[in-house]
Amino acid sequence: MNLTFREAILTFKRAPLLSVLSVTTIAFSLFVLGLFGLVVINLQDALHNVEERVEVVAYLLPGAPIEATAQALKDIEAFPEVQSATYVSEDDALARARAELVELRDVMQELERNPLPASIEVKLKPGFRDTDHVAAVAERMRGFGFVDDVRFGRDWVEKLDRLRGLAAAVGIVVGAAFAVVAIIIIGTTIRMAVLQRSREIAIMRLVGATDGFIRLPFLLQGAIKGLLGGMVAVGLSFAAFLLINRYLLQSAFFTQEQAVAIIAFGALIGLLGSTISVGRHLKRV
């Protein structure tokens, strides 16, 4: 094991140029993947913010009894899809309209009677913010006798649904394509490293080295290159994130777990690439 480790490390010393090239290739392949990952997580964040605003509003008939309304509020909060339900009285609604609709303040001042109905505003739990669930909750709320009308912006929620589906599909397809390209490029780089040492491999075999013994330093070396490449990729992504934040728009970066996952993915590709390359090489000669 000691020897394996030494041989793996020595390669960096003996073939510094090719080693740097491998790490750089892995780094940039993963960087492209990482940038795409950043786009995806920021898009998801944006979608999530929009989703937060999905709500179902039930407008109540004038003079709805207080006790019944309070009971209904409790019932609605007990729905499995519901995150929160808030009662907005007629006065609250008017106060809010005054605050929000500045242009109409004068009109509001002159009102003799409050024209706004009381309402119950319902927010849904994440995962239930799609057309089907929203419609189902709205339908149930219509069942209360003192409810006049229920609104939830069906068109808008449907659009959100489609956008979500599209984002997921693009994310998977483009992400997979980037990942495949990264794997191919990294595999080729590692194959070069193996070919560069084919003479050494031949000599190792002549003096009686087992295939396992020959393979091990390559695997370790591949994993180390992948690991370093992954770290550089995360570093580059972070630099890109800082630049975007400063000059373009406020965005989110990977969580710690996601960053670790990228580095681990690099190590895994490095390991896999060398396993395949060395295996093929040993089989052929």
Binding site: R14, I203, R205, L206, V207, G208, T210
Partner: protein, 231 residues
């Protein structure tokens, strides 16, 4: 030790590299393998170290049957052999000492014993003073000595030398040849492929000659027959 019985070896693209070759090299023996380029000397060598398998016939080397050998057994056979080539096959980015140590390391030898064993064989081939030199800093003869030290470090029962003096000038040739004789004198069998007939005539060793893949002369067999025929 090494036994070929009716060995045929076909080239991948047709034609025969070896035709019905049979011979036996005993423990501790020194045998020359001679013949022109392309006569099949290297093929015989490759069969001995299991780089190739015979197309038919049987090859046995220190207890292993090369015909039936599993791939995982090949390294074990090679650790019992020392192999030396015309082009030395040293690793350019390692010192003489590291090149020799390499052959021990791959066998999983304990690191505490490696240094001493490496120094001993380097001394034996007369290169102890140049242990830290890289191959490019050594002459051809010296590089071949490093290769021989590497071949010896595992204490092989047979040393295979495929044209070991082919790239060397006359003086280096004599030195390397004397080294091989000394190694043989200490009990290691040596099979040396060469087309240098001067070398062959110098020494009273067995000669096996190949011509176009066929064994045409074996001094051990032919001399015995001549003696039997003599009145």
């Amino acid at each position: 030790m090494i036994k070929f019985t009716n060995v045929f070896k076909a080239f991948p693209k047709g034609g025969l590299a070896l035709k019905d070759v049979s011979f036996h090299v005993a423990k501790g023996e020194f045998a020359f393998l001679t013949g022109h380029s392309g006569a099949g000397k290297s093929t015989v060598m490759k069969l001995i170290y299991a780089e190739e398998r015979p197309t038919s016939g049987e090859v046995r080397v220190s207890g292993y049957n090369v015909n039936e050998m599993r791939p995982r057994e090949v390294p074990r056979l090679r650790r019992k052999l020392g192999i030396v080539f015309q082009d030395f096959r040293l690793l350019e980015d390692r010192t003489a000492e590291e090149n020799v140590a390499f052959a021990l390391e791959v066998t999983g030898a304990r690191s505490s014993t490696i240094a001493a064993r490496v120094m001993r064989v380097l001394t034996q081939v007369g290169l102890a003073a140049k242990a830290q030199a890289y191959p490019r800093e050594l002459s051809g003869g010296e590089q071949q000595r490093v290769a021989i030290a590497r071949a010896l470090v595992n204490e092989p029962t047979v040393l295979l030398a495929d044209e070991p003096t082919g790239n060397l000038d006359e003086r280096a040739t004599r030195g390397v040849f004397q080294l091989l004789r000394d190694i043989n004198a200490s009990g290691t069998a040596v099979v040396m492929a060469t087309h240098d007939l001067d070398l062959v005539r110098q020494a009273p060793y067995r000669v096996i000659e190949l011509q176009e893949g066929a064994l045409v002369y074996d001094s051990a067999v032919d001399e015995a027959r001549d003696q039997a025929a003599a009145p």
